[in-house]
Symmetry: C2
Subunit: 468 residues, 2 copies
């Protein structure tokens, strides 16, 4: 805001008359400079890191990037500038005039009057080479530097935009945001793969006494959201969740982000699926419209074909099939699965991917799973011998399960046999309700077509790896 306002003011006062040299140059981001429509010699100051240097006889071209956009600003300097210190990776402050660029590659360039090297970069020791495209696996070794590459820069800007878009989506829909706790004594899914939390051994308090009970890192904010949906009707959370899963696969992280929502007075899976589909599409459209270049970079160099796949997902209605139909489709498939599809057995990733392909690469909701496969809190469909619950998973191309949700069992007597902990929530004005969770990293993978989950989170944590 400061800088944008600053620039605006500076440009306003500059536009009518040529700027006197002594007026202090307005600080402006690279994004701000590139956005100036008809540059006319405005005096500005740009700060950033050198992405490339090209020296010609009479003139020196620098590309300066400050992370505000994928594109760098071209700086043109005459040969009086000493190019030796102007190395790849160095930080610089450039003052000069914004002018229309003669090249077709950009609208605007910066005619340098003064270039100051703020911090040197030993390009030989710097692990990334100028003009070289490094594999994502290689970049992962440098969690403190990889954000300076084009790809990670774009991914993390998209992540930031998607985060903002998700908050806006829920706010605009009347949801109250809840910070559900990270430390909890509650174990939502009955999953065994928990991290336990204890004061570090340096602390004087006897360890077993800190919270009086064993506590863990949350695996889901659902229980806490259910509490809150009993007061605010529509609530959501968007925070870190944890699994102590012993896996180094490209699908798993020990710490990842989930978007979870809970809605009271919700009586059908249809209504829940509408929110899920709308969240998916609205967020994607916002990201596409706010950082098209960043998305384009991923679609072009990391995941060719993903642009079309994404457009296909966005312009079509998501499909809905029942678990029973899904099993039928799998049984009739010509493909050999590692796990034989069978009614009553869980769907595996191979099944999920087949189903999505079978449905024409459109995201597909699978609904009404066998009760025995799902946690105790899901609402029974009372459909006789089948005995299914009102659960829904959204399967998407390339990823498999992206969302999981359900109607919750609000009926006291149905729950009574199941779990005592839940009962007190159903005694005081119980209402039908439902909710879902979406893996945020998987969502980003789905939008950008990035194969490994470790490349869409700033600092990945997984077995044997907690760098920084």
């Amino acid at each position: 805001m400061f800088r944008a306002r600053c620039l605006l003011r500076a440009l306003r006062s500059c536009s009518s008359a040529p700027c006197p040299r002594h007026r202090p140059a307005a600080r402006v981001s690279v994004r701000g400079a590139l956005g100036v429509q008809s540059a006319n010699g405005e005096r500005v100051k740009v700060q950033g890191w050198i992405r490339s240097v090209r020296s010609q006889k009479e003139v020196l071209f620098l590309h300066v990037n400050d992370g505000s956009s994928l594109e760098s600003l071209q700086v043109v300097a005459d040969s009086s500038f000493d190019s030796r210190e102007l190395a790849f990776g160095s930080s610089v402050e450039v003052q000069g005039q914004l002018v229309k660029s003669p090249s077709k590659k950009q609208n605007v360039e910066l005619k340098a009057e003064k270039i100051e090297v703020v911090g040197n970069c030993d390009a030989k020791a710097f692990p990334f080479k100028y003009k070289e495209r490094h594999p994502l696996e290689y970049l992962r070794q440098y969690p403190h530097l990889r954000c300076r590459t084009n790809v990670l820069g774009s991914v993390l800007r998209v992540r930031s935009e998607a985060t903002a878009a998700i908050h806006s989506f829920f706010k605009d829909s009347g949801f109250v945001h809840i910070h559900t706790p990270v430390i909890t004594s509650n174990d939502c899914e009955g999953a065994g793969e928990l991290f336990q939390v204890e004061p570090s051994s340096k602390i004087k308090v006897p360890e077993e006494n800190f919270f009086n009970i064993p506590v863990f890192l949350t695996v889901s904010g659902q229980l806490h959201l259910e509490v809150m949906s009993g007061a605010f009707t529509q609530v959501f959370t968007f925070g870190p969740t944890f699994r102590a899963e012993n896996s180094q696969s490209r699908r798993h992280l020990a710490e990842f982000y989930m978007v979870e929502a809970e809605i009271s007075f919700l009586e059908s899976l249809q209504d829940l699926m509408q929110v899920m589909e709308s969240l998916f599409k609205t967020t994607a459209m916002t990201v596409l419209s706010n950082c098209p270049k960043d998305v384009e970079l991923c679609h072009k160099f990391i995941a060719p074909g993903q642009k079309d796949r994404l457009e296909h997902m966005l312009k079509n209605n998501f499909l809905i099939i029942s678990y029973t139909e899904a099993v039928e489709i799998l049984k009739q498939a010509s493909q050999n699965f590692t796990f034989t599809p069978e009614w009553g057995a869980d769907l595996h990733t191979e099944h999920e991917k087949y189903l999505v392909k079978h449905c024409g690469d459109i995201p597909v909701f699978v609904i009404n799973y066998p009760l025995a496969l799902k946690p105790f809190y899901m609402r029974e469909n009372e459909d006789g011998p089948q005995h299914t619950v009102a659960a829904v998973d959204l399967l998407v191309p390339g990823i498999g399960e992206l969302f999981g949700g359900s109607l919750r069992e609000e009926r006291y007597h149905f729950l009574e046999q199941r779990l005592a902990r839940y009962l007190d929530l159903r005694r005081f004005g119980s209402v039908p309700h439902g909710g879902f969770g979406m893996g945020f990293e998987r969502y980003l993978q789905c939008i950008l077509g990035i194969d490994n989950i470790k490349d869409v989170i700033p600092f990945p944590r997984f077995t044997h790896s907690c760098l920084l």
Copy 2:
């Protein structure tokens, strides 16, 4: 969005002609219903919980609340409705016509055609009594129900609004949002009060091997933000942080939220303080304008006088004094302190509160602390024998320290003696930079005047207490 749009459409089609009875009623939130400017018999469906029942001879008045606002919607039913099930706390669905209310207390009321009890509430077992104002300490015993009270409802709506406002502030100012990790091997402040994280004993992997190194819950995202500010120039994070502090005081939580920002190419504390002050004020103004009734409730019943104090803070410029001046002020104070003020010693809460009072209850920045008091990464002022660093704390009325920040030491040779871990960040295009952290719960306390930190977070965690 769904509901708002729904209502809009419904109201549009209703406004010109009286609605036929058979048209399905549009679902609308209480907030949405109360916002209808000139009600004219629109048929709607409202769902929520009964906050009060008043039975007169011919007519029954219900107040229904769904958490979308502090205010409830008045439902008017004729005496044909059975009032026995319509008890305090029960959830209901009411269909009827929105009409202008004859009472001055509200614009709109709902003339009931159909009232359905969705879930009963055993009012005798419900721990909160109708019309009774319970102390906050009492409410704290019921973390799963206290959100249904007026006060906690208002506090948590304000928390949600403030969260959105903070995200918007940074986005509008060109900052990139970063999810800094919760699990980390890094210990920012050298604080001993850490929580250690290990896979729970059920896991098969030998415990000491999960991450290969001991890992902890984060105490600050600063190091990770510094990494990112080296790529994106301006970054922020807003997430949970942890202290294994053995304290049940009204100032401490084991899990709390921090807003942290880091800005590259920042050369003066002045620029940093401008961002801090602007964040404080912009967020407060947004909250005041988006949920005036919720703020008013706290100011009226919880913290009389806070309204004026807050206005006073918002309309005045924050003050700036140096640590040295602060010590002088404290030395000249007539007040007896538990800790004698002395140059070189830390400021305690009693000192901070005195300083704020001395400055006329305006938030005050204290700058340039002795090097020995602050962590290794703060930038030396090179001011000779005094030996101070460019650190800043913002002290606010009623709370004490709300923000802490500093310029960071970007000079390689200054840091070289200090810590090896930081060095690799300064070798590749190092830039002057600075940042700050703000305790989000303290901020909410400061805005609302709420005395105990446990009352501004949905699920408080502290020594001996991890409920739910």
